[in-house]
Structure formats: structure tokens, C-alpha cells
């Protein structure tokens, strides 16, 4: 009885201390969870690049529940005439397909191993494009597109999580799902590097070489401990992005991430 009274006396303090303890042990944020109506704007690719017009754009993403019948877009690059230069979307109803728009040409393919319905299943999507060497697209270690299409991104912005043009008069096809990491390289990565990255989600490459990493002009990992709408570039190039949301929408911070 005496013990109980003592516990009651110190109850508020106990509760406070216990909460502090749990907050300290809080899980690390790994990804952003998009639920429509949200996107990330980056600068013009021209202003981000170094010398080359060769790019590798990479995403670690997983799907999530969709409550729209607009195909969610992982990213888009739209030219000044509002034609889509490059975009990748998933199908709101078909969990095993991926849609590409390459210089306004739409294509869709199904893959038995693809499943956008599982939010814990992260995919490494790599797009290697150039204005002179064609286009390759990988999902994980599978080369799904090998095209001669030349991709000229001069003057165009990179938008992640929606189809968005430069002045935002096109703003649609918002992403539903998780984005763990986005990388932009100013080079065409080797196939072996992509295979290694897929096998080691926590690593950027299979060996340390200064020249190799010099081409990493954007690295956005979302490993935060608090909500931010400015996404700091963790490469050396300060190509920060900004999260925007429509009224009534938000982006969630999530512990989910590529394993």
C-alpha cells in the first residue's frame, strides 16, 4: 500500500521520463510517403549538370495504396512546349506494369516480378539517358528498355512525384507510394555499378574512386529526424529540391526503406 502511494506521487515524472526515453529511441526516417497531391521540384537539369549531357537518374521506390484512377508518376521531365520528354509511371490498377513516356511516346509493359501493391518491396529504377547515346532503363538488375531515343533535357526541370511542367500549368498524376532515395549522376553508370547498387541499397558504388563520385550531382536520401520541405542535396553540388503539396494533401515521413 505504501509502495502504491509512492508510485502515484511520482507518476507525472515517470510518465515524462518514459516518453523522453522513447523519443530518444525513435526509429530513423528513411523515406517519404506520397499520397497524391504532392511533388518535389528540382532545378533545371542544365543548371545542375557539369559538362556532359549524359545522365543517370535513380530512384529507390515502392508502391502504396492508390485512391485515384490517374496513373501515379515517379518523375517527369517536360519541355518548354509541354511535351513530356521523359516520365515513368505506374498503373493505378495493374500492379505489375510500368508506363514510360519517352519523347511523348507512351509505352506500357507488364513484368511478373513487379508488384506495386507491396509498400515494403522497394525497387531501384535507373534511367540512363543522353542526347547522343540513347536510353536505357533498369528496374533492379533488369534492363527493361534499351532504346535509341535521344533525350534532350536542356532547359527542362526535374519533378519527382508528379507530371509537372515548368510553370506548373500542368500538374497531375501524383505519386502514391514511398520514395527512399533519389540520385542524379552526370554520367551513364556502368551496368555493373547498377547491379552492385541493387545488391547493396545502402551503397552508391562498388568501390571508392573520386572521379566516379564526382559525377554524382544530386543525392537526396530523406534520412531526416524532422519534417522539412527543403530537401538538401547530400552531394557536393547543392542542388536542393523543394516539396510542394496541394491544399489538403501532405507527405509523410516514413521508416520504410530499401533493405
Amino acid at each position: 500500500m505504501v509502495i502504491t502511494v509512492k508510485i502515484l506521487k511520482f507518476l507525472p515524472l515517470l510518465l515524462l521520463l518514459s516518453c523522453i526515453d522513447l523519443m530518444i529511441q525513435e526509429e530513423k526516417i528513411n523515406s517519404l510517403y506520397f499520397k497524391g497531391g504532392s511533388w518535389i521540384e528540382f532545378g533545371q537539369l542544365d543548371s545542375m549538370k557539369l559538362e556532359s549531357n549524359d545522365f543517370t537518374l535513380q530512384f529507390w521506390v515502392s508502391g502504396g495504396e492508390v485512391d485515384t484512377n490517374e496513373a501515379p508518376a515517379i518523375f517527369s521531365i517536360i519541355d518548354s512546349t509541354d511535351e513530356i520528354t521523359l516520365a515513368v509511371l505506374r498503373d493505378a490498377n495493374q500492379e505489375n506494369s510500368i508506363t514510360t513516356i519517352i519523347n511523348s511516346t507512351v509505352g506500357k509493359e507488364e513484368y511478373s516480378w513487379l508488384d506495386w501493391s507491396d509498400p515494403d518491396n522497394f525497387y531501384l529504377i535507373s534511367l540512363l539517358f543522353s542526347d547522343s547515346k540513347g536510353l536505357k532503363i533498369y528496374i533492379n538488375d533488369s534492363n527493361i528498355i534499351n532504346s535509341e531515343s535521344l533525350i534532350d533535357v536542356g532547359g527542362n526541370k526535374l519533378n519527382v512525384g508528379a507530371i509537372v511542367n515548368k510553370d506548373r500549368t500542368i500538374l497531375e498524376n501524383f505519386w502514391y507510394g514511398y520514395i527512399d532515395e533519389v540520385r542524379l549522376w552526370n554520367t551513364l553508370l556502368a551496368d555493373s555499378t547498377i547491379l552492385f547498387q541493387y545488391a547493396h541499397p545502402e551503397k552508391l558504388g562498388d568501390y571508392y574512386r573520386y572521379s566516379y563520385y564526382d559525377s554524382l550531382i544530386g543525392l537526396w536520401r530523406f534520412n531526416w529526424d524532422k519534417p522539412l520541405y527543403t530537401i538538401e542535396d547530400e552531394s557536393d553540388f547543392n542542388n536542393d529540391g523543394i516539396i510542394y503539396t496541394l491544399k489538403g494533401y501532405s507527405v509523410e515521413l516514413s521508416e520504410k526503406g530499401a533493405q
Binding site: 500500500m1 509502495i3 502504491t4 508510485i7 502515484l8 507518476l11 515517470l14 510518465l15 518514459s18 516518453c19 526515453d21 522513447l22 525513435e26 526516417i29 517519404l32 504532392s38 485515384t68 484512377n69 490517374e70 496513373a71 508518376a73 509541354d82 516520365a87 509511371l89 498503373d91 493505378a92 490498377n93 495493374q94 506494369s97 508506363t99 513516356i101 507512351v106 506500357k108 507530371i163 510553370d167 506548373r168 500549368t169 500542368i170 500538374l171 497531375e172 498524376n173 524532422k226 519534417p227 522539412l228 520541405y229 523543394i242 516539396i243 510542394y244 503539396t245 496541394l246 491544399k247 494533401y249 501532405s250 507527405v251 509523410e252 515521413l253
Partner: protein
């Protein structure tokens, strides 16, 4: 509160106070979002009304032109209602918006709904025991006195204060002398005179075959000669007989039991009306969802088994048996009671709404060549249009037993979660345009054909896609 309980409470508070999922969110609304690039966003309320459909499009500064099956339409604003349509009618509408070069050109299929029929219509045969309320050959009866009621006889009045045919009465004899009855010839003139005593026997008269005393020896019974009335000595209707030649009727010479009296049932005699098996048809249905302001009535039609096809063309059927209100969800047909078979008659319920109507399925009717399922392949479902998916098919070659097409849609392949998008009652229709598809999204379609028995055959489900 005991100490254990307090400790448990504290532990619970400790746990629950710090295990809330703290969802951290980011919200950052950009200032001054510009107007979006113009899109027509053509929509309609097709399928909602019986006689009209309205299309809507995004307002624009540009010039808009509308065409209904090639004819230019005058309109105001950014919508137009097409009225005066027939229930279940489909039309193709073209819209051109001249705001940029080239202009926006789009099309939409509009349609009205058919009258809502009743659903779950079925009937069952119910056996009942019924007499026919009239005396039939072979039924038992009580032969009373002279078989008719006479003035002065007591009777059981069933209501109107006088004796009526069929009311019970006590026959007291007829109270007067009849020829052939014994009498006391008081004035010895050889014949019965008023006031002389007599014995009233049997039916009061001599009949052929009855024994008599031949007083005057002429070999014949004469008026006044005594006789024994033994029944009429011949077979009458209702008397039992042994049908020797099995022709189901009495023939001269066959044995029979003369039941005395006159051996036949007479008007007014009590009889036991034999109850026989009769058959009612009990019809049940779920009411139409036709709104009250349009609903007029139900009409029930019935045809005999071999005339079932008459229900397909009710105008020439002449088989209407009842008109009912919306409150009715069942009907007992006791007009045709002789045949027991479930297939003896076929029924149909028609919902009358405004100047149109819609038949039910013909329950149980399957004696016709069933319709083939629609053949739907990849080429029949579009994958290359913005904003819509179009489904085309080959219409049924013979529409005699056609009831309707149904367009079904599912968001997943091989899913039970299907949605019926439209009902098409025109057997010649071979196209449906789904404009509620979003962009870059796959949908799976089937065209089901339904026959007049309600049998539904789905085509294969084929995927369609709209461009992102």
C-alpha cells in the same frame, strides 16, 4: 481500489502514454498556382434519366461547337441537356473547342436508362383442395322427400326471410291426394273425391315395373289400382353400377344399385361437394426502383406453355391478367387451377413508366436456342485514347430471345469485384465508350449478353487502357 489494480492502471498509463504513432507530415502549398492548361474534361450524367442526358465540359473562352450525330446543336454555357430521348437510347456527340490551333476535338457517347424492371421475379405452384360449388356426378347428397320445397314446409332461412333454392326444409308430403294413392271411397262412386281419405305412397304415382293389383284384370295398371313403389326400377344418374364393358357409362343390363327415391340429385338437395386438387400460381418479385413520379403500374401477363413466345411481343399477346400498384410484390393467380406443372404457364411482369415500359425476365422459360456469348478480344477494347476506353463488339445475329447487353468493368484481372457500367437494350448496339477511366489506368471489360430468361453470358474480360 486495491493496490494491485492501481499498479495495473499505472503500468497501462505508462505504456499508452508513450506508444502513440507520431506521424510526421510535410505540407507546403505553393503560392499562386496558375490555372491549369485547358482540358475539355467532357463528362455526362448518362444512364440517370429516362428521357434526357446532360453533358458538361470545362468552361473556356474559346468557341465551342456541338454536334449530335452530325447535326449542329445550339446551346448556352458549358453544358447541354439532350431531351426527348427514348429510354435506353444511345447517341454520339462530338465537341470542338476552338481555343488553340489545332482545336480540341473530343466525343462522348450519351445514353438514357431503360425503365427499371422488377427483379427476382419467380413463381411457384401451390396445391389447394377445392370443390367446384356445384353438384357433380358421383357426389353424395341427401335425398329429401319430394326433393323440392313446398309452401308450408319448415325451412332454415339463410338470410332473406323466405325459402330459397338450397335451403334445408322438411318435406311434409305435398298435402294433397295424388292419382294412385289409396283412398276411402266414401260415396262409393269408384273414384277418389275431394275429402276422401287416402294413403300417400312414395312419389305418389305408379311407375313402370312397380307391383300393382290389377283390379279390373286388363293386365295393365290403371289409375286407382294399388301398387308398391320400389324406386323407379331403372338406373338413374348417380346410382352405382358395374361397368361391364368398361365404357365409363351405364348400359342397359349392367348391374346397379337403385338408391331409391328417384335416384338423382335435385336442385336444393344438400350434397357433399368433393374437394379436388387445384393449383395456384404464386408470383413474387422485388419491386422496381422506378421513382414514384414516373411509375404507373405493373401489368401481369400469362400464357400457356406452348405460347411462351407470345410474351416476347406483348402488344399482340392478349394475355394480360392483372394490373397492380407499386405496393404489390406478389400475386396469386387462381384463375387457372387445373394444371399442376410449373411449366404449364409462363408469366411476365411489365413495369409501366410514363409512356414506356420494361418487361421482367420470363421465369422458367428456357425452351429456346440460347444466345451465344459475345466474342471480345484485345482489338475490341481500346488502349490508345485519351480520357476514354471504347469497347466494340459484334451484335447478336438473332435478337428474338435477347433481353439486354451489360457492360461490366473491373479494376483487377480475374476479380469478383465487378461493376456494371451500362445496360443496353438495343440488340443492334455494338459500341460503348467509358469516359470514367482516368489516365494511364488499366480496366478490364466484359460484354455480357442476357436472354429473356435472365441467363447471363459473360464474354472474356479484356483489358483496356487510357493514355496518361
Amino acid at each position: 481500489m486495491n493496490s494491485q489494480l492501481k499498479i495495473n492502471l499505472i503500468i497501462s498509463l505508462f505504456i499508452f502514454s508513450c506508444t502513440d504513432d507520431k506521424i510526421q507530415i510535410i505540407s507546403n502549398i505553393p503560392p499562386d498556382l496558375p490555372n491549369q492548361n485547358y482540358k475539355i474534361n467532357l463528362k455526362s450524367n448518362s444512364g440517370l434519366f429516362l428521357a434526357n442526358a446532360t453533358i458538361y465540359w470545362d468552361a473556356t473562352e474559346g468557341e465551342v461547337e456541338l454536334y449530335d450525330t452530325g447535326d449542329s446543336i445550339n446551346f448556352n454555357g458549358n453544358s447541354h441537356t439532350f431531351s426527348g430521348m427514348n429510354p435506353g437510347e444511345f447517341r454520339d456527340i462530338l465537341i470542338i473547342v476552338r481555343i488553340d490551333d489545332p482545336p480540341y476535338v473530343d466525343s462522348i457517347q450519351i445514353f438514357t436508362r431503360p425503365v427499371y424492371p422488377v427483379s427476382n421475379f419467380l413463381y411457384e405452384v401451390e396445391m389447394v383442395m377445392r370443390g367446384n360449388q356445384i353438384y357433380d356426378f358421383g357426389e353424395s347428397y341427401t335425398d329429401l322427400g319430394n326433393k323440392i320445397w313446398d309452401e308450408g314446409e319448415s325451412y332454415t332461412d339463410l338470410g332473406n326471410g323466405e325459402w330459397n333454392e338450397g335451403e334445408a326444409y322438411t318435406d311434409l308430403g305435398n298435402g294433397e291426394w295424388n292419382e294412385g294413392e289409396e283412398f276411402t271411397d266414401e260415396n262409393s262412386n269408384g273414384e277418389w273425391n275431394e275429402g276422401e281419405a287416402y294413403t300417400d305412397l312414395g312419389n305418389g304415382e305408379w311407375n313402370e315395373g312397380e307391383e300393382f293389383t290389377d283390379d279390373i284384370g286388363n293386365g295393365f295398371w290403371d289409375v286407382g289400382e294399388e301398387f308398391v313403389d320400389l324406386g323407379n326400377g331403372v338406373w338413374d344418374d348417380a346410382e352405382d353400377f358395374i361397368d361391364s364393358n368398361e365404357n365409363d357409362e351405364y348400359d342397359e343390363g349392367e348391374d346397379f344399385t337403385d338408391k331409391n327415391g328417384n335416384g338423382v340429385w335435385d336442385e336444393g338437395e344438400v350434397f357433399i361437394d368433393i374437394k379436388k386438387s387445384k393449383y395456384h400460381r404464386v408470383l413474387n418479385w422485388s419491386p422496381t426502383i422506378e421513382p414514384d413520379e414516373y411509375f404507373s403500374n405493373y401489368i401481369i401477363y400469362r400464357v400457356k406453355n406452348n405460347n411462351a413466345d407470345d410474351l416476347i411481343n406483348l402488344e399482340n399477346c392478349g394475355c394480360e391478367i392483372a394490373t397492380l400498384t407499386k405496393a404489390n410484390t406478389s400475386f396469386i393467380d387462381s384463375m387457372v387451377t387445373e394444371e399442376s406443372g410449373i411449366y404449364a404457364y409462363f408469366y411476365q411482369i411489365r413495369v409501366i413508366s410514363g409512356s414506356d415500359g420494361r418487361n421482367s425476365y420470363i421465369y422458367n422459360y428456357t425452351d429456346f436456342t440460347s444466345l451465344s456469348k459475345v466474342s471480345l478480344v484485345d482489338a475490341n477494347v481500346s488502349k490508345n485514347n485519351n480520357e476514354f476506353i471504347q469497347i466494340t463488339w459484334e451484335p447478336v445475329s438473332n435478337s428474338t430471345y435477347f433481353y439486354q447487353y451489360e457492360i461490366w468493368r473491373s479494376s483487377e484481372e480475374n476479380s469478383d469485384n465487378m461493376q456494371r457500367m451500362a445496360i443496353i437494350i438495343n440488340p443492334e448496339q455494338g459500341k460503348f465508350m467509358d469516359r470514367n477511366v482516368g489516365s494511364g489506368t488499366t480496366w478490364y471489360y466484359s460484354v455480357a449478353v442476357v436472354d429473356i430468361n435472365g441467363n447471363r453470358k459473360f464474354s472474356d474480360f479484356i483489358s483496356g487502357w487510357s493514355l496518361p
